[in-house]
């Protein structure tokens, strides 16, 4: 049985439904992606997993057991918005939070120093949170979620406010946590992160699941509708071929939108008859495109 099982949960607020029938499982050492537009129900789902709010229907099981206060020590939570004491020193509040999670002050201190070292910000140990830059605050927030080595980690927009270098740093850390056996639920708006990190995802739209499954399966279910073409000389007349919907000229090649995968070979032949080919690829749809298509279309 998987460590984290979310079983058909439903949550209503006053007169609106926040989450309706969400169901997924996260295995040991897996990062599960929870995607959706703003207000789709991601945060509500995460809060239910954390036991902050209780589902109106359905249930959530942790290692096969229902929620209880004993589980608190096993949770690590990185909220979407900053959740730190602005006026208290980093060391004091992180050691406090770690102590609440059952660590001794000494262990917490050692662990905090390691993490700060690792994130290349050991000088922040004695600073107040309000003195730190947004990126550095996010690092501290991240440490607060993982300092006690939790089994379940819930990350809501983990990489917001970070520069590309730091995103890589934290991404590597998340992967390491995964490899150490944590079950991670992860939400973000950056699809390239999802493609890199998540095995399985759920896309929520207006409180309902619209797409669910492994990233590979989801991608293969969507037709390949783009061809990338790089040639020595310019190719003309591509838009005459039936099945070509549009031709986009980029700086170093052509992107051709096609109605059907079969049209790709016609394009290749057409181009070969005119010039030499440097690069030809029938492109998989990106998650970004899938997301926009599923969520964007339904918005209309």
């Amino acid at each position: 049985m998987n460590p984290l099982v979310v079983n058909n949960v439903v949550k209503h607020y006053a007169d609106k439904t926040a989450v309706s029938g969400v169901q997924f499982e996260v295995s040991k050492g897996e990062i599960y992606g929870l995607l959706g537009a703003n207000g789709a129900g991601k945060t509500t789902t995460m809060r239910m997993i954390l036991g902050l709010i209780y589902p109106d229907q359905g249930d959530i099981r942790y290692n096969g057991k229902p929620y209880s206060n004993e589980l608190l020590k096993n949770f690590g939570y990185l909220p979407e918005e900053r959740g730190l004491y602005p006026k208290i020193r980093v060391s004091e509040q992180l050691i406090y939070l770690a102590q609440l999670k059952g660590m001794s002050a000494k262990d917490a201190d050692r662990s905090l120093k390691n993490w700060l070292e690792r994130f290349e910000v050991p000088e922040n140990y004695n600073k107040r949170v309000e003195e730190l830059s947004k990126g550095n605050q996010q690092k501290i927030q991240f440490i607060s979620a993982v300092i006690h080595n939790p089994q379940f980690i819930i990350m809501d927009e983990a990489f917001s406010g970070l520069d590309p270098v730091n995103v890589e740093l934290l991404k590597a850390t998340v992967k390491e946590l995964r490899d150490n056996g944590a079950s991670i639920v992860f939400s973000t708006h950056r699809m390239e992160h999802v493609e890199e990190l998540c095995r399985n995802i759920t896309i929520l739209h207006r409180s309902k699941e619209v797409i669910k499954g492994s990233v590979k399966d989801i991608k293969s279910k969507f037709p390949k509708e783009k061809v990338w073409l790089q040639t020595k000389q310019e190719v003309t007349g591509l838009d005459q071929i039936t099945g070509v919907k549009a031709v986009h000229r980029h700086e170093n090649g052509l992107e051709v939108e096609i109605a059907d995968e079969k049209v790709a070979s016609q394009i290749l032949n057409h181009a070969l008859s005119q010039t030499e080919i440097e690069h030809f690829q029938v492109k998989e749809p990106t998650l970004n495109e899938i997301f926009i298509r599923t969520v964007g279309d339904r918005n209309e």
Binding site: A14, R47, L50, G51, L52, I53, Y54, D56, N69, L72, F75, Y77, P79, E81, R82, G83, L84, Y85, P86, K87, I88, E92, Q93, Y96, L97, Q99, L100, K101, S144, A145
Partner: protein
């Protein structure tokens, strides 16, 4: 349980380290030190009470009534030990205007503090007297003279009536009436005698002290608790906290931490006040109060302590719940207003009823949970209250605390995750149903 003490320690340490808290405490300590020493300081400025002699001039005009009045005053004050008034007669030149000139010039030269002028003889048997001085509104000299003249006249009339010294002594002997309160039934206080006037006086002082102490503790810590909760909520650290520690533990940890802080704070005020009072130059003043704490009924202290703890806990719990409802510190003032009014009401009912501890108002209020911690100490200290009445009132208080804890914990649990506008009562109740605590 370990989490509870972690929260308590964190709350206390942060408060003790906060600059604003330290500064305001220090300022208050300074104010206390100054206030306690004010009588002494004022005395220093006045020239040490009896030390500096004030000379008052008057014109000695032969055998006129005015002149004899002046002489009588001179004699009277000369006979009083420690009086700082000395009268000095000046020979008349026969001309009233030039006489006054003489006195004025003496005054200007600093020889005189003030001088007297006598006018027409009035019904009182003395001439009209005015005290002329450069000092503004110096009533003390005038009132001392008034007092002296009354005694002088009293003695004059009595001796004219031909009373013997013995009879005069008998007339002047003080009359004493002792007020002793007795006990009718089995009561919560000490057995037997009831409360003597001395005991009642001391009790009254202690009651004032307890009521003010409780009021300050509730006001200070209530505000602090509520604003800490709101601050945690608005900085969203609450979301992280309740995934680490149960809301109940966090709420009571905070309340306990604040309780310790307030006790530390008030104890330091008391200590500084006491140290100042026991300084050598204040020792005489303390002796005048004649405080004998041994006459205090221990039961009064025990019950007062219980009511203090219960009252503090009840208010603190409700303040924490109110703090959890609002999400921005700006809205906090409005939210805690009702609690502030209730504690003010309880405080004033108690303070204004201190001379009428038997009134119906006090009897009723001593059973109303939010008022009883203030009002019940009155009845305990000043009246002969039956033990069962105290127990009933305390039982009501305890039941209310239990209910308040349940409701507050629910509000807290619900409130800390509701952001945006302040939830309506209906929304709150609906959301509360969703939580087990």
């Amino acid at each position: 349980m370990s989490n509870f003490w972690t929260v308590v320690r964190f709350t206390v340490m942060n408060k003790l380290k906060a600059k604003a808290f330290l500064i305001s405490t220090l300022v208050f300590l300074l104010i206390i030190s100054v206030v306690v020493n004010i009588p002494y300081i004022v005395m220093q400025f006045q020239g040490g009470g009896g030390d500096k002699v004030q000379t008052i001039g008057y014109i000695q005009d032969g055998d006129t009534l005015a002149a004899t009045t002046g002489q009588q005053l001179e004699q009277y004050f000369a006979n009083i030990e420690g009086s700082n008034l000395v009268f000095k007669g000046f020979a008349t030149s026969g001309n009233a205007a030039s006489d006054e000139e003489t006195l004025k010039s003496e005054l200007n030269a600093g020889e005189l503090y003030s001088y007297l002028q006598f006018g027409e003889v009035t019904e009182s048997g003395f001439p009209e007297i005015s005290v002329k001085s450069e000092k503004l509104l110096d009533y003390s000299v005038a009132s001392q003279i008034e007092g002296a003249l009354q005694v002088i006249r009293h003695n004059n009339i009595l001796s004219e009536a031909g009373l013997t010294d013995q009879q005069m002594k008998e007339l002047q002997a003080p009359i004493v009436v002792d007020a002793v309160q007795i006990k009718g039934s089995l009561s919560a206080g000490n057995e037997g005698e009831g409360k003597s006037a001395e005991e009642q006086g001391i009790n009254m002082g202690i009651i004032y002290f307890i009521i003010i102490f409780l009021f300050m503790a509730v006001m200070i810590s209530g505000q602090m608790i509520a604003s800490e909760v709101t601050a945690e909520k608005s900085s969203r650290v609450m979301e992280v906290l309740i995934t680490s520690v149960s809301p109940l533990t966090s709420m009571f940890g905070k309340i306990t931490g604040m309780f310790l802080i307030v006790i530390i704070q008030l104890a330091s005020y008391l200590a500084v006040g006491a140290i100042n009072l026991s300084l050598p130059h204040n020792a005489d003043m303390l002796k005048e109060f004649n405080i004998d704490l041994s006459v205090v009924d221990p039961m009064l202290l025990v019950f007062s302590g219980l009511y203090f703890l219960a009252g503090f806990f009840l208010f603190a719990t409700l303040y924490a719940a109110l703090g959890s409802i609002v999400s921005r510190t700006e809205d906090l003032g409005n939210a805690v207003m009702p609690m502030t009014f209730i504690s003010l009401a309880g405080f004033y009912i108690a303070i204004f009823s201190i001379s009428t501890p038997d009134s119906l108002l006090v009897k009723i209020c001593s059973h109303i949970p939010l008022f009883s911690p203030f009002v019940m100490v009155l009845r305990l200290g000043l009246t002969d209250i039956a033990l069962w009445e105290v127990l009933i009132s305390f039982a009501i208080l305890i039941v209310t605390i239990y209910l308040a804890v349940v409701v507050s914990a629910k509000i807290y649990r619900t409130g800390v995750l509701m952001y945006g506008k302040r939830p309506s009562f209906k929304e709150l109740r609906k959301a509360m149903k969703a939580y087990k605590i």
